[in-house]
Each structure stands twice: as C-alpha cells, then as structure tokens.
Symmetry: C2
Subunit: 171 residues, 2 copies
C-alpha cells in the first residue's frame, strides 16, 4: 500500500486533535508512529495519555512555546532544523508507517524551515509512509502536492468570549 | 469550570479524528469520557487502541454501518433513540466530564433523532460536562447554540482519485 500526504490547515480548532486521532487509529492497526511537534515544548495532557503507547509511538517536541507571542529567533530556527533532521531520519528509516509533522506549516510560515525542505521530505520518504502535516498557513506548494487537504474553518470559538486554553481540552 | 459545546462539521476528513484527539487529551488530564457513535457498528482501528483506556473511557456504537448507502429505516431510528437515552443518562449522571456524540449531526439530518432532543440534552447536562458533537450537516439551531464550531472543509481528498477507506487511516 502506498502512503499519502494529508494536510490539516485553517484557523479553526481541530488540527492537532485530528492528527492525534489519526495516530490512535494507526496505533490500533498496529502501525509504528513518529509524532513530531514543531514550536511546542513541555507536556500537554495528550502526551500523558499517549505515553501508554510508548512501545509503538515516538513523540518529540522541538520548540520553546514562547515565540508565538513575539518574533522567532535563531534558537527557534535551530530547534526547527534539528526537528527536520530527525524527521528525515524517521521517514527514510523504514521504521515508521505514519509520521506526523504537527505545526510544520507554522514553522514554514515563519521561515524556520522551508517549503522546499518539506517537499523534499515528501519525495525522499519510504513509499508506504503516510505523512500528516498540520498548522495554519499551509503553503500553496504543499497544498498542491498533498493528496488530501482539509481546511478547519473557525465558524465560532469560545476564545472570542475570553475563555482561555483549558487543561484537558486545549492542552 | 463550566463545560462547553463544541461542534465539528463540514464535508472534510478530520471530524471523528478530532473527537478522538480531544478524548485522548481529556483522558490525559484524568477525565472520564463517554464516546457515543451514531450510525457506526463494528470495531474500527481506533477502538482497538482506545481499549487501553477502558478504566476511564466508555465507547458505545449504535448503528448498522449500512444505511448510509440507502435510506434509514425503523431499525436505524430505534438504535439512534436507544443511543440518545444512554447519552442523556451519561450527561446527567455526573460520572463523565467529556461526552462525545460522534455523527449525531448525521442522525439529526436523517431524522433518527431531532435537533430538539440535542438541544434538550445540552440544557439538561451537568454543568461541567464538555460536549463534542460531530458529523456533516450540523443543524443551524445547534450551530447557534454551540460555543465553538469548526467546519472541516474538503479542499482536496484522495477519495476523488478512487482510493477507498484504508485500515489504519479511515477505519
């Protein structure tokens, strides 16, 4: 079976959670999964639950959780490039059947990695690797190359009422 | 903390997987979760993986997996009403902090349950219950009542190339 490239983008809630859901489905089918998170650091609630699958799932975070409020700096670039290097290793190793690049679109948007690097990764991956790429601002060239693209549109969000991120729901 | 009502609708891939991701996040935070699936039957890959959380997660399927290709009949209506009854019990019991109604929008669309039943459920639930409702065709009155609505838009889908549902990715 061939692997495909799935992209989840847009300004609505549900992109990372969809990638987690796909991870659960893949794990249930006995797949090995590599889940890379750009820009994020620390332990979210999902990490605690996903720890039960440490035999088949590798999760790595490569970020500082901070620059979103400011401008990215050299340290953010260094972390994103380190992520990229490990992801290349994961997609070419033959070890993983599903590889998730969470928030990679945002990393491209801020020039922490380039869209050419993403496209190169797609071409170089082992043939049966399913790639899932999330984050706002998906690059048009990635959309063009992807096999499946869903845009999560924010129709209504409780953030607009001043409700902030909650443990168990957003983090 | 109050619970909110989240709706994931639209024609794109990612609605049920987002609900699974939210479930994983909630489980990681120690919440008890009730996950009800209208219209679906049988064991999907995600059920196998989620079985590891049977101490904190109840999953129920209430459907025949068949009517989607035809017209719903009295048996589909009976199953959906049985689902509704159990969901009312779950949201009023105080046992669950997150309750998912997967494909409930489709059940409403096909008149297996009514939008008034969904709105009544929202009002009757214990105050801290977070409700997640998925499926195409979300009813305008539910959208109006919901605290968060994301529309998953199908920008591009590999189904259009003739690729059918795959174990580990769609089921």
């Amino acid at each position: 079976m061939n692997g495909y490239v799935q992209v989840y983008t847009g300004n609505g809630k549900g992109k990372t959670t969809a990638a987690i859901g796909l991870t659960i489905r893949a794990l249930g089918a006995g797949w090995q999964v590599f889940f890379a998170q750009f820009l994020k650091a620390g332990e979210y609630s999902e990490h605690k639950a996903l720890a039960r699958f440490s035999d088949n799932l590798t999760i790595k975070t490569y970020g500082r959780n901070v620059f979103i409020r400011g401008e990215p700096n050299d340290e953010d670039r260094r972390l994103a490039q380190a992520a990229y290097k490990e992801i290349v290793e994961a997609v070419t190793s033959g070890r993983y059947r599903l590889v998730v690049l969470d928030e990679a679109n945002v990393a491209v948007h801020y020039d922490l990695i380039t869209v050419d690097q993403i496209l190169d990764l797609i071409e170089r991956r082992a043939g049966d690797v399913e790639l899932v790429i999330t984050g706002r601002y998906a690059h048009p060239r990635l959309i063009d190359r992807a096999d499946l693209v869903t845009e999560m549109q924010d129709v209504k969000h409780y953030y607009d009422k001043g409700i902030t991120a909650r443990v168990g729901v957003e983090k």
